[in-house]
Structures are given as C-alpha cells and as structure tokens.
C-alpha cells in the first residue's frame, strides 16, 4: 500500500521569499511517479510539478522545484519568489503500478503575505 504524509498543516511566507513544503511517502514499488498539486480557493486542482522516480535529476518548473531524495522517500517542493497567487492548498501525491490511482497526502495550506 502507498502512503503519503504531509506533516505540516499550514505555512506562511512573505511575498518574494522562498518556502519549502515537505512530503514523505512510502511504497514498495520501483516504478512510480510523484506529484505536487495546488488547489486554490476556487478549488480547481492544478498540477504544479511531476517527478519520475527513475530520474535522479530534480524536476523544475519555473519558480517551482523539488528536492527528491529517493532513499529517504522524501519529496519536498520549493517555491521561489513567492507570489500572492501561490496562496492555496498544496497536495503531494504518488502514483504507482497498474491501478494508476493517485494517493494524496492531507495537504498543506500555504498563505503568501503581501
């Protein structure tokens, strides 16, 4: 069974600063994918970034990057130059095997202060 743990329920960051959101996961599979999704108050779930477990290089998407530590089963999201529009709930998720479902963490509420 897969599990995804986000232990911080909420965080706050000043606009233009950098913030890191933590996530750990557990799986017995060798082939899996990890995701960060963002859910703003509008509730639309938006893909932020994706990491393939077989790739050693950390994924980056503009201001968003991950620190993927496979041995430690850790997958943190770094948001640089935080913007007000980054205010949202962020979910870490994993996907393995043929069942293809996403397993989500409980999410973290990020507030960006002006």
């Amino acid at each position: 069974a897969q599990t995804v743990t986000q232990s911080q329920p909420e965080m706050s960051v000043q606009e233009a600063e950098t913030v890191t959101l933590s996530c750990t996961y557990d799986t017995s599979e060798n082939n899996y994918y990890l995701f960060w999704y963002k859910q703003p108050p509008s509730r639309q779930m938006i893909l932020v970034i994706r990491q393939e477990a077989y790739k050693q290089q950390n994924a980056t998407e503009n201001r968003f990057s991950v620190n993927f530590q496979k041995a430690a089963k850790s997958f943190s999201l770094k948001i640089s130059d935080s913007q007000l529009g980054d205010t949202a709930m962020y979910f870490c998720a994993s996907q393995t095997g043929a069942n293809s479902k996403l397993t989500f963490g409980k999410g973290i509420t990020l507030s960006v202060r002006p």
């Binding site: 509008s42 509730r43 779930m45 069942n99 293809s100 479902k101 996403l102 999410g107």
Partner: protein, 114 residues
C-alpha cells in the same frame, strides 16, 4: 484546448435520494478518474474508467457506481445518499493506461446531502 469539465457545479440532495455527477475529459484522453474530497478525510480515490471499462475501484460501498460512455465522458452515481456523502467530487482525466500519464482535474461538483 478545453480542460476537464464537470456538471453540475453544486448539487443539493436529501438523505436517501440518488445523485448523478457528470464529467467530460480533455479531448484525446480515454481515462477518467473520480475522487472524493470530504472535510477531514482528504482526497480519496473512488473509481477509474478507461475505454468504457471499470479498471479500479477504491474502498467505497457499492452504492457508489459509474460508467464511461463511448465518447469517454463519465457519470458517477451515488444511490441512497447519506449525510457523510457530502463532499467535493473531483474528476480527472489522462491519456490512457500508461502509468506515466498525468491526471488533469476538473473544477469539481460540490454535493450537499441534507
């Protein structure tokens, strides 16, 4: 390109009634996933359809059912509604059975059971 669409946006039912939620995937996507986001329970996988077949099912009672139509749109039916079925129901679509396909989400249907 149009994203995943869901209807209705809001649905209010009373206990014991049936609810039908609809989802249209991104053009070219054959897989549709349903997730339930209930307060305090996080995001939980409900059902996965691909090419008209149910591929996987989450840990939900049989009164949660669905189907996928030839045009790949999907319907989620919830029979004998209970108060705890009140939640945001999210639909996602992806290209198909390949593991590497990212799931893209719709805006959700908010179901309220009175």
């Amino acid at each position: 390109e149009a994203g995943v669409t869901q209807s209705p946006t809001h649905l209010i039912k009373t206990r014991g009634q049936q609810a039908t939620l609809r989802c249209s995937p991104i053009s070219g996507h054959t897989s549709v996933y349903w997730y339930q986001q209930a307060l305090g329970l996080g995001l939980q996988f409900l059902l996965w359809y691909d090419e008209g077949e149910e591929r996987n099912r989450g840990n939900f009672p049989p009164r949660f059912s669905g189907r996928q139509f030839p045009n790949y749109s999907s319907e989620l039916n919830v029979n004998a509604l209970e108060l705890e079925d009140s939640a945001l129901y999210l639909c996602a679509s992806s290209l198909g059975l390949v593991l590497r396909d990212t799931q893209y989400f719709g805006p959700g249907t908010r179901l309220t059971v009175l």
